[in-house]
């Protein structure tokens, strides 16, 4: 187990540049196409309502503000996501909890993809989250 932990520590070591993030290593992520830095949870110095690059946990239930929970994360893509968050980024460790009808079964369905284009879309049930 010690060996596994050492490998994980190397793999998830915080990187100092955009090119060295885990996304680049794995080659699974779509690179930020608009020049935004790929580090997660970046704030906008001129607008506190905006945050960039927020990892999203999409599940079939909704949490309400003021509630808390214990999550048992076991599927590979989400353990990778949370390890990246926890081991490569400083506190506070924020992530989005987004209601997805049907849960992980529909993660790959284009019908439920997050909006690709930037605009101020009309509010619908998939865009209100905590």
């Amino acid at each position: 187990m010690d060996l596994v932990r050492k490998i994980q520590a190397t793999f998830y070591a915080p990187s100092s540049s955009k090119e060295e993030t885990d996304d680049g290593v794995l080659g699974t992520a779509v690179a930020a196409s608009d020049g935004e830095n790929s580090r997660w949870l970046q704030t906008d110095p001129n607008d506190p309502t905006i945050m960039y690059n927020v990892p999203v946990w999409r599940v079939q239930w909704t949490e309400l503000i003021g509630y808390q929970n214990v999550l048992n994360v076991h599927v590979p893509h989400y353990t990778h996501m949370f390890r990246t968050l926890l081991l490569q980024h400083p506190k506070p460790w924020y992530f989005g909890h987004v209601f997805l009808p049907g849960g992980s079964d529909y993660l790959g369905s284009p019908d439920y993809f997050l909006p690709e284009q930037e605009d101020r879309p009309e509010i619908n049930f998939r865009q209100w989250n905590i």
């Binding site: 779509v30 048992n72 994360v73 992530f95 989005g96 284009q117």
Partner: protein, 310 residues
């Protein structure tokens, strides 16, 4: 949401303690698979939480200022900043060791955590500092985009940000009274059961209200306060009676928290097609609307139980 603590299990699983803290809207995706990353999100403060800073001032000045979109956005920025300042107070960070002390652990998975986050009674928060920081946020934003604002708007912003301006859209006392009645009716319907009331909910009970005779929630909260005992089913943390720990805590923030936490009791009682989903509630941007919906739902439950008893 925020992760407050975690453990890495030997089989690769992660166990996380998480707290839901704010609402947001996804503006644009950066990645869809294998997991989603939102390239840009916008926090959505409660409508009243940003309007409150503007309307009293306008009414006081007697002006006919039509608010521009820019001013609305500036006030939303203030409301989001306010939430950030109150975060440590409003969310006591729960740790894995806390929740594993008092419960069975199966396969390294803790049985659970109290479903409501506790408030933190030991945060030193200077409300004057918060107010000044909020003013700085709005003035910085307006100065950077001065051409978008009218002179009246800048005057409003310069004087509007005051925490004591905050007033309630509706009186949440009715919700407390209805919850208390629900407990009474449930115990009347089944005298053998005791309905536990979450202490995190009781901590929100105001101390300066005149409650009706026989109102039991106040007795529960007073008793918890007197014993100063640790509270919580799965974890123990100090009981925080908000009004006592922070007498200047904005009533509007308390109303907002109540509009969600009050659902902890009726949430397990289904009213069939009249049921309200959590997602419906989350989509309501107005505290007043959430409180009204909550009250309506609790009263509907009370009415059903009353009929059962009769």
């Amino acid at each position: 949401m925020q992760v407050t603590d975690y453990i890495e299990n030997n089989d690769g699983r992660l166990t996380l303690v998480v707290q839901a803290i704010d609402r947001f809207r996804i503006i644009k995706a950066r990645q869809q698979l294998p997991y989603a990353i939102a390239g840009k999100i916008q926090f959505i403060p409660d409508q009243e939480s940003w309007e409150q800073h503007v309307w009293p001032n306008i009414v006081e000045r007697g002006t006919n200022v039509e608010l521009s979109e820019s001013l609305k956005e500036a006030m939303q920025a203030v409301a989001v900043t306010e939430s950030e300042f109150f975060r440590d107070l409003e969310y006591l960070a729960t740790t894995i060791s806390e929740i594993t002390q008092n419960q069975q652990i199966y396969n390294n998975i803790p049985e659970g955590v109290s479903p409501l986050s506790n408030m933190n009674a030991s945060v030193l928060l200077n409300f004057d500092v918060v107010e000044n920081q909020m003013k700085e946020v709005v003035l910085k934003r307006m100065t950077a985009k001065a051409e978008e604002y009218g002179r009246d708007e800048i005057m409003i912003a310069a004087t509007a940000i005051k925490l004591e301006n905050i007033s309630l859209p509706i009186e949440p006392i009715d919700i407390w009274v209805s919850l208390d009645r629900m407990l009474t009716l449930l115990e009347k319907a089944n005298p053998n059961i005791h309905i536990p009331v979450p202490t995190q909910l009781l901590g929100l009970l105001p101390t300066d209200c005149k409650w009706p005779r026989g109102f039991r929630l106040k007795c529960y909260a007073d008793a918890l306060e007197a014993t100063q005992s640790g509270v919580g089913t799965f974890s123990k943390s100090p009981f925080c009676r908000l009004s006592r720990a922070y007498p200047l805590y904005p009533p509007l923030r308390r109303a907002s928290r109540l509009s969600y936490t009050a659902w902890i009791l009726p949430n397990n009682i289904s009213l069939g097609e009249h049921g309200q989903s959590r997602q419906d509630l989350l989509q309501m941007a107005s505290i007043q609307k959430r409180l009204q919906t909550t009250l309506k739902y609790i009263e509907a439950i009370n009415s059903v139980i009353q009929q059962m008893i009769e």
